[in-house]
């Protein structure tokens, strides 16, 4: 999901501390906010915006394109199902630590609807010059500047660092897609890569991954078919391996997940893999100057 200028955003959980803080930041950045949701404060005005009882009520009275969830884990399932029932085109789930079986319910409902999900446990999406949805420093011009590089990242903090490095090097960003750090997310590495590939404003892509899971491996064959250059950084080269579901888990994911495996798979698909984030701008420049466009 790429945020497009003028897209209307509903903030679920707008009256909370974080919801209020980041609603202000999003609006400051140009994001169009139509209102928020808090069933207990429906009918009130908060930050000058209308508060609705549900996303479904909001859709009827203040239509929106994207809902963003500032909702604690225990309420996340119901809030997401509400946004899906409201036929939101996009749903950005920031919430971390949602019980996995609740995520299964959310994903199943979304699959039967037209709602696209980013997250859970994402820091959100940023389109410099247009706005951002989530908890990214999209309003900070040292970090985000309009440009031609698309960035997708599992991590919000690392994604921020990489955009900072790009901006320092004079490489602005066409879009940032934070896909989220959970093992089960609505937009995968491969899907975000395909979106940036289809985006006419994007000339090259930075893929920011992490050890664990098989999402980077699953994106590699797509990257191999792309005409746009892809540069990757994978965090966790020296980290101890994370928790797995043992042999039963291996039945599903094979033995994907290691740094070496991810790097080899990406490199075999023509992706340049950086050793450190600061190498990314130079790799991009060399790939952009040699790619046929």
């Amino acid at each position: 999901m790429i945020y497009r200028k003028g897209q209307r955003v509903l903030v679920q959980g707008i009256t909370g501390k974080q919801g209020s803080f980041w609603t202000g930041k999003m609006a400051e950045c140009g994001t169009v906010i139509v209102g928020g949701v808090n069933p207990k404060r429906a009918g009130e005005t908060h930050l000058g915006l209308p508060v609705f009882a549900s996303a479904q009520e909001a859709m009827a009275r203040a239509p929106f394109d994207i809902a963003v969830m500032f909702v604690p884990p225990a309420g996340a399932r119901d809030a997401a199902l509400d946004a899906i029932a409201a036929r939101a085109a996009g749903l950005v789930i920031l919430t971390e630590h949602i019980p996995a079986q609740d995520v299964l319910a959310i994903r199943e409902a979304a699959a039967a609807s037209a709602t696209r999900i980013v997250g859970p446990n994402t820091a959100g999406i940023v389109t410099p010059g247009a706005g951002f949805v989530g908890i990214m420093p999209g309003h900070n011009p040292n970090i985000f500047q309009p440009g031609r590089i698309g960035v997708l990242s599992r991590s919000g903090s690392l994604g921020t660092l990489i955009c900072l490095n790009l901006t320092r090097a004079g490489l602005g960003q066409s879009a940032f897609i934070g896909i989220g750090g959970d093992p089960m997310i609505g937009t995968t590495t491969r899907e975000a890569l395909a979106e940036l590939d289809a985006d006419s404003a994007t000339e090259a892509v930075v893929l920011v991954g992490e050890i664990g899971g098989g999402m980077e491996e699953a994106a590699a064959d797509y990257a191999a078919r792309m005409s746009k250059p892809v540069v990757a950084f994978i965090a966790g080269r020296v980290s101890p391996p994370g928790k797995k579901m043992g042999h039963a888990g291996a039945i599903v994911t094979g033995h994907a997940g290691s740094y070496a495996g991810k790097r080899a798979t990406l490199e075999a698909s023509g992706v340049s893999v950086a050793d450190t984030p600061s190498q990314i701008p130079a790799l991009l420049r060399s790939r952009l100057s040699t790619s046929c466009r």
Binding site: E108, I143, G156, T160, M184, G236, R237, H247, V252
Partner: protein
């Protein structure tokens, strides 16, 4: 877990001493004595023994108690009535993360670990994704077993699978596995061993299961971190690090290693934990080998001013005897840099590589 779901399990008694095992034998009879540890492959490790008399039960318990299996000390053994097993199967329900669906796994060959079974008898393994909204119906379980030679046990196995699915849902499990699921000589089906992986995120609505969870193998410092709600891992290097978010923390470790240093810890203070910078600093500094410290913040959700306030206040209080090197960017950056300058008289590095390089040199 299984008995309430209606899946038969052998009679058993938990014993913490050889004497208890001797007494329990009178109740249980011929049995297996199983070391109770949160690890697999207990049999191979010598943690499962056979007992046909009270003396053998006591001896088996005495041999197992106190031994270590996969780093876990055996504090109790389970005396489990020995059933006459006709056949062994494998059954599991798990959350298939890439597919975002519950997955039922069944194999007509059980007993060994499922990866080996899948490799040795691929035709015996069945898998079925289940729509969460419908659950695992008896008909779907029946269909899944089609083509397997299960004889008259088929209906009972399908029934056990639907009950296992129920248990998976009721316990918010990530994985619930019965291996072996046994067909007994009397034609009944029983679970002879069960493994459950709890979803940590569901602990609040599964308090009784969370209380049962196996304690992790943690160092004293790691336990302190866990008690404070922080994911802290002690490593064998000498460069301490404090960063926000798992991605940035791993990257900081990677760059330390890339530049020739060795990280002393992993410590994540991202997400809701970003206000815990003070506790976090105490943990990092308590590491016995630490010679210098890198503080690398890149604030998205986590406000760097809040983190810098916590770290510098703690630094002033603890007055550590090692050098510290900061790099700070993102949300709250200007205020955070001012705090570090005013309180510690230090100038944060613009690039994290430079802060890390300085920390590595200082540690030499």
């Amino acid at each position: 877990m299984l008995a309430p779901a209606g899946i038969a399990v052998p009679r058993s008694v938990l014993c913490a001493s050889a004497e208890e095992a001797r007494t329990a034998f009178a109740e249980i009879g011929p049995c297996m004595v199983k070391a109770q540890v949160p690890a697999g492959k207990r049999g191979k490790a010598g943690g499962i023994r056979k007992a046909d008399s009270p003396e053998q039960a006591a001896d088996a318990a005495a041999a197992s108690l106190g031994m270590e299996i996969d780093g876990h000390r055996v504090d109790s053994v389970l005396l489990e009535a020995r059933a006459e097993v006709a056949r062994e199967f494998y059954a599991a329900i798990m959350t298939d993360f890439p597919a975002a669906r519950p997955l039922v796994l069944f194999s007509a060959e059980g007993g060994m670990d499922i990866e080996e079974v899948a490799a040795a008898h691929p035709g015996a393994l069945r898998r079925l994704h289940v729509p969460l909204s419908q659950g695992l119906t008896q008909a779907a379980a029946d269909a899944m077993l089609g083509g397997l030679d299960l004889g008259p046990a088929r209906a009972a196995i399908a029934d056990a699978l639907t009950k296992l699915y129920r248990a998976y849902r009721d316990t918010d499990a990530e994985l619930i596995e019965i291996n072996p699921l046994a067909l007994l000589a009397d034609g009944s089906i029983a679970a002879l061993d069960c493994k459950l992986i709890i979803d940590d995120a569901s602990a609040e609505r599964q308090p009784q299961l969370a209380a049962l969870a196996a304690p992790e193998n943690l160092t004293a410092l790691e336990r302190r971190g866990q008690a404070a709600g922080l994911k802290f891992i002690e490593l064998d290097g000498d460069i301490g690090l404090l960063a926000n978010g798992a991605g940035l923390t791993m990257t900081t470790m990677d760059v330390i290693a890339h530049l020739g240093g060795r990280p002393a810890n992993f410590l994540e203070i991202g997400g809701e934990a970003y206000t815990k910078a003070e506790i976090a600093l105490g943990l990092v500094l308590a590491h016995p080998r630490i010679k210098s410290l890198v503080v690398n913040f890149c604030g998205a959700f986590a406000r760097t001013d809040v983190m810098a306030d916590g770290v510098t206040a703690a630094w002033q209080k603890l007055k550590p005897d090692i050098p510290v090197f900061f790099s700070i960017h993102g949300t709250g950056e200007d205020e955070a840099v001012r705090i570090v300058r005013d309180r510690l008289g230090l100038e944060p590095y613009d690039l994290m590589e430079d802060a890390i390089q300085a920390a590595i040199e200082a540690a030499r």
